[in-house]
């Protein structure tokens, strides 16, 4: 204090500013002198703001679409930490690592802060008025069907507003693209059960047989499933649930299985039919369909020993109800729909439908339900772009330049769009191709509603509200931007809404009675809604309508070895990086991959036996080449992978995005072949065949695992017992 030459007056100013920082909530990045005229002392502090005491606000996690409710700790106007909201039936007070990192999305130093007009590689900072005027100008020169909007899985009021905006333009071109959405499984479920995403009761199952569904890692609603899993392990009547995981590359869920079965890539459906055959309980057309799938044949085609198939069948027979899941590993093939259908058929044969597979509830406002889509939508957009069909393209919550399979040449086709607008948090690969980049508020600064695809008991609408004042003056919420844009075209209709908050509040109050607020006055209802962060609804329970049938079920015989490209590439989906949109959050980069313990880089998982064959050792930089391109990454010898496959994790290999993402690792999306599921037309993510060659370079793999390579060297550190050695019923 004395050293810095502050006198008493300056010192008091600093203290005063401390008070203002609270009143204005988090302007800590401004200097002491800025805004001194608005200095307000703590005498007039907002309600509940006490220096040193945390205040908690409920909101919704936006790191993925699962819709976990969060509770943010705010102190002196800054959000510090996110916890789960215990009142949510989805996550019940818990979060995942990805959710924890949500604060790093908000405070990220590489966020876009100003509207940018891009001229080649140069950015020109412009005003919002100019940006809006530019959009209006470009739209005036385009017909409705010359305008396209690409988005991720939007839901809630934002989806409604987006729909209205496109309607006002006269465009029907809304393309919804989520690169890792389980699109094929949804279609197969719709056929088998009558709903795209039924409710799975892992906690009620005595045996879970999962064909590559990484429900503990990154599949559908992992935090919810993790809680079900904990109950499942405790068991019904003291009988602990048994998890069997069938997949060619070990996922986090596979690593927790009682029995992990490395199946030959693409033969998941054959194994499912083999198990139906071994059960011997099916009749009619199902029995006829599985007749040919005897032990010997199934074992030969899948690589699973005959004894193992018998054991699985015996256990499934003995312990009922069970649950069979079809996940991303099963759907990722040209016959992915057939794989998923065979797996769902096994569920039906076992009589699990109605017990562990139940009808999902849906919100009574179908217009708010999440928009879904995957590569079919992207392909259609890509074709339109290639044909030069679009004069104006909007892009929100998707980064197709990074995630589109290389064979699609999306980046080249994107250049043919007349005027490209990206709504962005970061200058990601897609934003760099845009003509206009509009900076978005972070999820912790913005208003919104979110409806999750996967509902638990009852339905819910999640509320997203700002946990603190905006960090950057010139970012805007997506809702506010859409409202401003729709006002350009339908000013009269929307004139009563000053901002998106007013729109949201108005829309919620309009349906107050349906949202459980009948009788309450508007302010009470609204304040309660914000306090809870969740609107719980009775929801309408759907019904499962599907009928077990083997009609149309044909599984191809595994293809013969490809001499030129002998290995199957399995793009790994990790719980923390997923499709790579959050790769600029340093906690996620430094959080070791649970299975390989590698940080900050990509790797090529290869089975030790195959590696020995190819003379590859750990740390060798290898080139992975497909028909569509090649990438380089360090080799990691990994026992949890089929010797005929290799795996490279998705999410890294950014050429842009930010300082923590750019230049780290390789992007396997780039080398994916354009092979599609024959029924749904979705991308067959696991169908790319590759060859691996050494480059002669070698690096030290940066990982947490010690020199012993995951062996305990006889010490009792992490101890394993079998169920016959313990008595779980007496535990506290």
């Amino acid at each position: 204090m004395i050293d810095s030459g502050l006198d008493r007056r300056d010192f008091l100013k600093v203290l005063g500013w401390g008070g203002a920082a609270v009143a204005l909530s988090g302007c800590g990045n401004t200097s002491v002198e800025d805004g001194k005229e608005t200095v307000v002392s703590y005498v007039e502090a907002a309600d509940y703001v006490i220096p040193g005491i945390g205040v908690y606000y409920n909101s919704t996690c936006a790191q993925c679409d699962a819709g976990c409710s969060i509770n943010g700790r705010v102190r002196e106007g800054r959000v510090l930490k996110l916890e789960g909201n215990p009142a949510s039936a989805i996550n019940r007070g818990r979060t995942c690592g990805l959710g924890q990192a949500g604060v790093q999305h908000h405070y990220n130093p590489d966020r876009v802060r100003e509207p940018l007009l891009r001229h080649g590689d140069k950015n020109e900072v412009i005003t919002w008025d100019k940006a809006y005027a530019l959009i209006a100008e470009k739209l005036s020169g385009a017909k409705g069907d010359e305008v396209a909007f690409l988005s991720g899985g939007v839901s809630g009021h934002l989806k409604v507003l987006l729909g209205n905006y496109l309607d006002s333009i006269g465009s029907k071109n809304h393309f919804v693209y989520e690169a890792l959405a389980p699109a094929v499984v949804r279609a197969a479920n719709k056929k088998a059960y009558g709903v795209e995403m039924p409710r799975y009761n892992i906690n009620k199952a005595k045996v879970v047989l999962s064909f590559g569904a990484d429900f503990l890692g990154a599949w559908v609603s992992p935090v919810h499933f993790s809680q079900q899993y904990a109950q499942f392990r405790k068991g019904v009547d003291g009988q602990r649930g048994v998890l069997i995981q069938v997949e060619s590359k070990m996922t986090l869920t596979g690593a927790n299985a009682d029995r992990w079965i490395p199946v030959r890539p693409g033969t998941e459906g054959i194994l499912a039919l083999g198990i139906i055959n071994a059960l011997g309980t099916a009749s009619g057309d199902i029995a006829a369909a599985v007749k040919g799938y005897d032990r010997a044949r199934v074992s030969k085609e899948t690589g699973v020993p005959p004894g193992q198939i018998d054991k699985i069948a015996a256990l499934l027979k003995l312990r009922s109800p069970s649950l069979v899941l079809a996940g991303s590993a099963a759907e990722g093939y040209a016959h992915g729909s057939q794989n998923a259908a065979a797996i769902n058929l096994l569920n039906q044969v076992l009589g699990n439908v109605g017990k562990t597979v139940e009808a999902s509830t849906s919100v009574p406002f179908p217009q708010m339900a999440p928009a879904k889509g995957n590569t079919v939508a992207l392909k259609s957009l890509n074709d339109g772009l290639a044909a030069g069909k679009y004069k104006v393209l909007f892009c929100y919550a998707a980064n197709p330049v990074f995630t589109a399979p290389g064979a699609m040449k999306f980046k080249d086709h994107l250049a043919k769009a007349g005027f490209k607008v990206a709504f962005a948090h970061y200058l990601d690969e897609t934003a760099l191709q845009a003509d206009l980049v509009l900076p978005l508020d972070s999820a912790l600064e913005d208003w919104g509603t979110q409806v999750p695809e996967y509902m638990t008991e009852g339905a819910q609408i999640n509320i997203q509200q700002p946990l603190m004042e905006k960090l950057h003056a010139n970012t805007r919420g997506m809702g506010d931007i859409l409202l401003a844009l729709v006002k350009q075209r339908r000013a009269e209709e929307y004139k009563s809404f000053d901002d998106y908050y007013a729109y949201l509040r108005g829309a919620m109050l309009l349906n107050k009675n349906a949202l459980g607020g009948s009788g309450a006055d508007d302010d009470t209802f609204w304040n309660e809604t914000l306090t809870k962060g969740i609107v719980k609804l009775a929801g309408s329970a759907g019904t499962l309508s599907g009928k077990a049938s083997a009609a149309g079920l044909t599984l191809p015989v595994p293809s013969a070895a490809d001499v030129q490209y002998p290995l199957q590439l399995i793009p790994g989906v990790t719980a923390s990086l997923r499709d790579g949109r959050h790769a600029n959050q340093p906690w996620l980069q430094e959080s070791p991959d649970p299975l390989t313990t590698i940080v900050w880089d990509s790797w090529v998982e290869i089975h030790p036996k195959k590696a020995a064959e190819l003379h590859i050792t750990e740390g060798d930089i290898v080139e992975v080449t497909s028909r569509s391109g090649s990438i380089r990454a360090q080799a990691y010898l990994f026992p949890g992978i089929h010797p005929d496959a290799i795996s490279v994790p998705l999410g890294r290999g950014h050429e842009a995005l930010g300082r923590y993402a750019k230049g780290y690792g390789a992007n396997p999306f780039q080398i994916l072949d354009a092979v599609f599921d024959q029924e749904t037309g979705e991308l067959a993510m696991h169908e790319t065949r590759v060859k691996v060659s050494k480059t002669g370079q070698r690096v030290v793999v940066v990982k947490d695992e010690g020199a012993a390579g995951g062996k305990q060297m006889g010490r009792k550190i992490a101890v394993l017992v079998t169920t016959d050695e313990v008595d779980l019923s007496k535990e506290a």
Partner: protein, 289 residues
């Protein structure tokens, strides 16, 4: 209390596992971790970064072993994997183990500190006093669990550790450590202090459930239980009791019973007699498949 006084009368200040004249009263913080529930998802580790101002050191420093994860997930494979006579594949999955400071009652790190920077608190924590630490790193060398992390750099002033805005996330309840000091898991001592303060104001003791560590609160499967071991109503006490694990014993019933006890509670490196405050419950695998 001068350092020379501390050093001369070290035995007097050093607090062993509870002995008659110094019982843990009214608090003894302890944990139990169910390895059958733990999925190795790493949420606890990230939550610890968020709560405790842990620096992200970057790839190069991580390679040098400078990663600062107070809570880390260790991943082990079966001993038989890949060896002659064993399987080529991890047929029973992997084994995950959340590892952090075990808050030992007779902590090997405490006896070797030349500055008495790490010592035992009355409520059973192995505390680290940053401004007393001189950076000898003897404690880290002596820790059998390797859970002590040294600040080789001044991370607050290192590029891209906490650049502008990112620094606003720092938890004001937790010190941001500077170069040359050792740090480790504290059982979220800032949360314990807050809970004890609240309880004291209300004229009561901290009840079970009043306070959660960051890793416990986030855990998607609820694998981590934390609480006051001397509170007979606490879940952690009940778990330790039902597993017959006793804090001040160096051999537990589980290991002594011939033909198996049906219990699965154990402490790591019990034979070294550090008397850890963390009990693990063995991972279970189905024998029928």
């Amino acid at each position: 209390m001068s350092v020379s006084n501390l050093l001369e009368n070290w035995a007097q200040f050093r607090h062993f596992h509870p002995i008659d004249d110094k019982p843990h009263d009214p608090y003894k913080w302890a944990m139990s971790i169910d390895l059958d529930a733990c999925t190795g998802c790493n949420a606890c580790s990230v939550a610890c970064y968020a709560e405790n101002n842990l620096p992200v050191v970057g790839k190069e420093k991580y390679q040098h072993g400078h990663g600062m994860h107070w809570m880390r997930i260790e991943r082990y494979w079966d001993e038989g994997l890949g060896v002659a006579g064993g399987s080529d594949f991890p047929d029973h999955g992997a084994q995950f183990l959340p590892m952090m400071c075990q808050q030992c009652e007779a902590a090997p790190c405490e006896t070797v500190c030349p500055a008495a920077a790490t010592n035992h608190t009355a409520d059973g924590l192995n505390s680290q006093i940053y401004n007393r630490c001189v950076g000898s790193r003897y404690c880290s060398a002596n820790c059998p669990f390797k859970v002590r992390y040294f600040n080789w750099y001044d991370y607050p002033t290192t590029d891209n550790v906490w650049p502008a805005e990112m620094n606003q996330q720092l938890n004001p309840d937790v010190t941001v450590r500077s170069k040359g000091v050792m740090e480790k898991c504290t059982f979220c001592v800032q949360r314990l202090h807050a809970a004890k303060g609240t309880a004291k104001n209300e004229g009561r003791l901290v009840h079970d459930g009043d306070v959660q560590t960051a890793c416990q609160q986030v855990c998607p499967t609820g694998a981590i239980t934390f609480g006051n071991l001397v509170d007979h109503e606490s879940k952690v006490h009940k778990q330790w009791q039902s597993q017959q694990v006793e804090l001040d014993k160096d051999a537990q019933v589980k290991d002594q019973k011939e033909g198996g006890s049906g219990l699965r509670g154990y402490r790591i490196f019990e034979e070294l007699r550090p008397y850890p405050s963390v009990m693990y419950l063995e991972r279970v695998r189905e024998s029928a498949i």
